[in-house]
Amino acid sequence: MTVGLPRIGVITFPGSLDDRDALNAVATMGGTGVPLWHGDHDLLGVDAVILPGGFSYGDYLRCGAIAGHAPIMDEVRSFAERGGPVLGICNGFQILCESGLLPGALIRNRSLRFVCREVTLRVETAQSVITADLTPGETVAVPIKHGEGAFMARPDELARVRDQGLAVFRYAGPDGVVDDAHNPNGALENIAGIRNEAGNVVGLMPHPEHAVDPDVGPTGGQPLFASLLAAALAGAGA
């Protein structure tokens, strides 16, 4: 049904903050951004869905806990089950974990402080909708800005993450070496982002939507969005 530019939906929850930024990044990278509303039961036929950064519902209860129950999440779940690309950024990642669409959880930074800075990510796998254009071992520069971004998982979940290679990005130094000195928040094994088994659902704490415009920051988000748009186009009409 869809011809031409891939249509990427971005869901606004009460308290979403980087939704407009995600829509702008989609447009910059050659897609059509489609605003979606948390209260609707309609994904408007988009080819991919982004759950953006922010403080949905004020982070009340736990980050992302309430958003997981928003009406539109029913449609997001079905879309994900059908293999549709779903990307959760920062708060969006938290929502995906709370919704059970990804394993693990995000807890408070070990410094107990919010941190906003540019980090280097090492690509761990090309088997995801946002790293298909990249090679494992490559690095990209992207900003983080969060207070609760340390990825944690129960032992059985962590075993699954390891066995199935579900880590998509790890925090690294500029030379690509993954070590504790370059772990900004205490995440388990420096994990910055993970995927589901099928690779169509990805969550990451860093903000690729803030890394597509060289005038305001690094550009490590460009290949991530390029991969996502390609995945969206490939699945369009499915």
Partner: protein, 730 residues
């Protein structure tokens, strides 16, 4: 009873005379709040009237919720600065958080989307545990609130001085953007008799009662902890919803007026909105959604519960307004109706509890010309002439590690500086630069003001604050346009403090006129003192400048090796009030550096013209710490070392650390040096070649050599060490 509300006896008599009878309790509470220093500006009004407020670019001057300037292409930049120092001294997290909330609401009530926050802060020395507690709490509060509402915190500054030990200064500046034709002012929208006043946002509780009358308008003493209930509690999630709902209401053209609720709560919002429209209002307290039962009329009237706005709505539009608020999850309540005649009549439980002329609360309040008397000069020999036989290398390390100078990364990494995707330059730049969406324009923003120069000479201190703020904007290539300000002072009932205030206004005024940066509004914070110790006179200036093309913005750090380094302006023997004098000699004494405003203006014109020609590779203001510090900061920020030879007859420590005004340290490509010299000559700015950028070493010829890495380590680790942390972040 009136005294418990902060009203003086003569003020009480004035109320009796206005009403023709004794005031009712609720009326007393209303006057107590509205006539407090914080709300009425009674000690400062007559002096503030002398400030220059007009200019070609000014769209809205003082008198509305915020100021606005025309930045071209149909865009208006709306901005204002306010203080929330007294609540922050008691409860630093919530005091700072609600300070952010309040200033953001001032911006949205003008119809502008908030696009940037800046936080100039002043604390006592970090060697004292209470000051560390205050710093950590205030920074956490600014971040906790600001990060949650989607407005980037892009700049600010932090200074440390002993007089701020019990009296931190927390000033918050917000900048917003609106289409000029959509600005909401009492002139642009017409309110009608019979129109409704709709309260929307959070419900009204008992928090913050006495915030303006008891807390902000009195000095702090040992009983201050008991004032904790007067500190407001913030909910940034509610504020985010408020921002979106308010902007949607304005976008849809549904309102006849909009006002935020801040100091003095409902009383202020209703009386000001009515008075501005030349009307009165019938206010029914039973209609106000309450957070807890059994609130007395005076509590409802003066509560400072956060995240509330007041819209003036024509009855035919009420349903549409309610629908927008509900979609964003916000409650609405019609609490008043505008009436002809000017009387604010308040009912509760069926009875009239207050009936006062609205104007007597707002514009016809008391105005004082308080006595003033020059304060004794600060004792001590001028450090400029003190013999110094220490070595310049250790002196540089001491100044670089001084908390006023050292890296504030520990602070600014706790703030989201990138949301909205328009931040071209943030912390680390002399001025923050944000893009105006859909155009090539950039706004350059700087907040400056430390009390040290004011302690020595209040007139010069204020003039320097304006000059430095304009210089910080000009070095990025932006033309300084206008200012907002926050005046932080001690008890105005003491003649020396009042003298400092009037001198500061004079200095600010003269500088604003010479630099063509009119005052569009601001805030006065008095009573920043405890026992007998007042803070130094500290006018903090928020400067807004315009870059026609943000791509031509000039960075602070040396961007490449092989560039030629120049000093624009001249260095004189002036160590009075300098970082060197405090950090190395341990004194705050002498005269502040001279300030020739004509030279300063010429420097700014040169910087703006040079930037427009893409002539400068970098530019940095050397006023904080002096030339040596500026060169080192440029090396650390850009990642490239340098080699310089500092000529001249002054002793080396004076050349390195003098804080002479009207200078800039710039770098330029070798093949364009002649152009720079020509431009400097054309603008009448002296210029001297210092050396070149390149390598990882830092060489001050004839003095010492070191490395960028070693200097960076000292610069970055100073504040974390003082806070008891090792320098590795997270």
């Amino acid at each position: 009873m009136h005294r418990r509300l902060g009203l003086k006896d003569d003020e009480h008599e004035r109320i009796v005379a206005t009403l023709g009878r004794d005031p009712r309790p609720a009326e007393l509470a209303m006057y107590g709040a509205m006539w407090s220093e914080h709300c009425s500006y009674k000690s400062s009004k007559i002096h503030l009237k002398t400030l220059p407020t007009e200019g070609a670019a000014v769209l809205v001057g003082p008198g509305q919720d915020a100021g606005a300037v025309d930045v071209g292409d149909g865009w208006a930049a709306v901005f204002k600065m306010e203080s929330h120092s007294h609540p922050s001294a008691i409860e630093p997290y919530q005091g700072a958080a609600t300070g952010v909330g309040g200033i953001v609401r001032d911006i949205i009530s003008m119809g502008a989307r908030p696009v940037a926050l800046l936080d100039p802060l002043l604390f006592g020395p970090l060697t004292q545990e209470r000051n560390r507690w205050l710093l950590e709490g205030v920074v956490a509060g600014i971040g906790g609130y600001g990060n949650c509402i989607g407005v980037p915190t892009v700049g600010g500054e932090i200074h440390f001085a002993e007089p701020h030990s019990a009296n931190p200064s927390v000033n918050v500046m917000c900048v917003g953007l609106a289409r000029a034709e959509d600005l909401v002012t009492s002139a642009s929208l017409t309110a009608h008799a019979g129109s409704l006043m709709v309260l929307y946002g959070a419900s009204t509780g008992r928090d913050g009662i006495g915030g303006v009358s008891v807390l902000a308008s009195a000095t702090l003493d040992e009983g201050s902890a008991a004032a904790r209930p007067s500190v407001q509690i913030g909910d940034p999630f509610a504020e985010k919803l408020l921002i979106e709902a308010s902007l949607e209401l304005i976008e849809r053209g549904l309102l006849e007026g909009l006002q935020d609720l801040g100091g003095a709560g409902i009383t202020c919002a209703v009386s000001e909105s009515a008075a501005r429209a030349g009307m009165g209002a019938d206010l029914d307290l039973d209609a106000v959604p309450l957070r807890e039962p059994g609130m007395a009329p005076f509590e409802i009237l003066t509560s400072e519960s956060q995240e509330r706005m007041l819209a003036i709505v024509h009855p035919s539009r009420l349903d549409a307004v309610t629908a927008v608020c509900e979609r964003w999850g916000l409650g609405t309540a019609v609490i008043a109706t505008l009436t002809r005649g000017g009387t604010l009549a308040v009912t509760h439980d069926g009875s009239v509890v207050a009936e006062v002329p609205a104007r007597s609360l707002t514009d016809d309040g008391p105005e004082y010309d308080r006595p003033r008397e020059p304060r004794a000069a600060v004792a001590g020999e001028d450090p400029t002439f003190a013999p110094f036989d220490g070595d310049p290398w250790s002196a540089l390390l001491a100044v670089l590690a001084a908390p006023n100078v050292a890296s504030k990364r520990w602070v600014f990494e706790q703030y989201d500086s990138i949301v909205q995707g328009q931040t071209v330059a943030g912390a680390g730049s002399d001025a923050a630069v944000i893009r105006v969406p859909g155009t090539l324009k950039g706004l350059a923003l700087s907040a400056d003001g430390k009390g040290r120069f004011g302690a020595l000479d209040p007139y010069l201190g204020a003039a320097h604050a304006v000059a430095e703020a304009a210089r910080n904007v000009a070095v990025t290539g932006a033309r300084p346009l206008a200012i907002t300000n926050c005046m932080n002072f001690g008890n105005p009932e003491r003649p020396p403090v009042m003298w400092e205030f009037v001198e500061s206004i004079r200095g600010m005024s003269d500088a604003c006129i010479a630099l063509d940066t009119p005052v569009t509004g601001g805030n006065v914070s008095f009573y920043n003192e405890s026992a007998d110790s007042a803070i130094w006179p500290t006018p903090v200036i928020g400067m807004l400048g315009l870059l026609e093309d943000y791509r031509l913005r000039v960075p602070t750090g040396f961007p490449r090796p092989g560039l030629s380094i120049y000093l624009l302006g001249e260095t004189f023997a002036e160590l009075g009030g300098s970082e060197f004098a405090e950090a190395v000699l341990g004194v705050v004494a002498g005269r502040p550096p001279a300030l020739d405003l004509a030279k300063e203006a010429a420097l700014h014109r040169l910087l703006v013209a040079a930037a427009a020609q893409d002539l400068l590779a970098s530019a940095h203001d050397p006023s904080e710490g002096g030339l040596a510090v500026a060169l080192v900061e440029a090396a650390i920020e850009g990642g490239h070392g340098f080699a310089v030879t500092l000529a001249g007859d002054l002793p080396s420590h004076v050349t390195l650390f003098s804080e002479s005004a009207s200078r800039a340290v710039v770098s330029v490509a070798a093949e364009r040096e002649a152009e720079l010299l020509e431009a400097a000559a054309a603008h009448g700015v002296p210029v001297a070649r210092l050396g070149e950028t390149g390598g990882s070493a830092v060489l001050f010829d004839g003095l010492f050599e070191t490395s960028v890495g070693a200097l960076r380590e000292v610069y970055e680790s100073a504040i974390p060490r003082l806070l008891g942390e090792d320098e590795a972040p997270a």
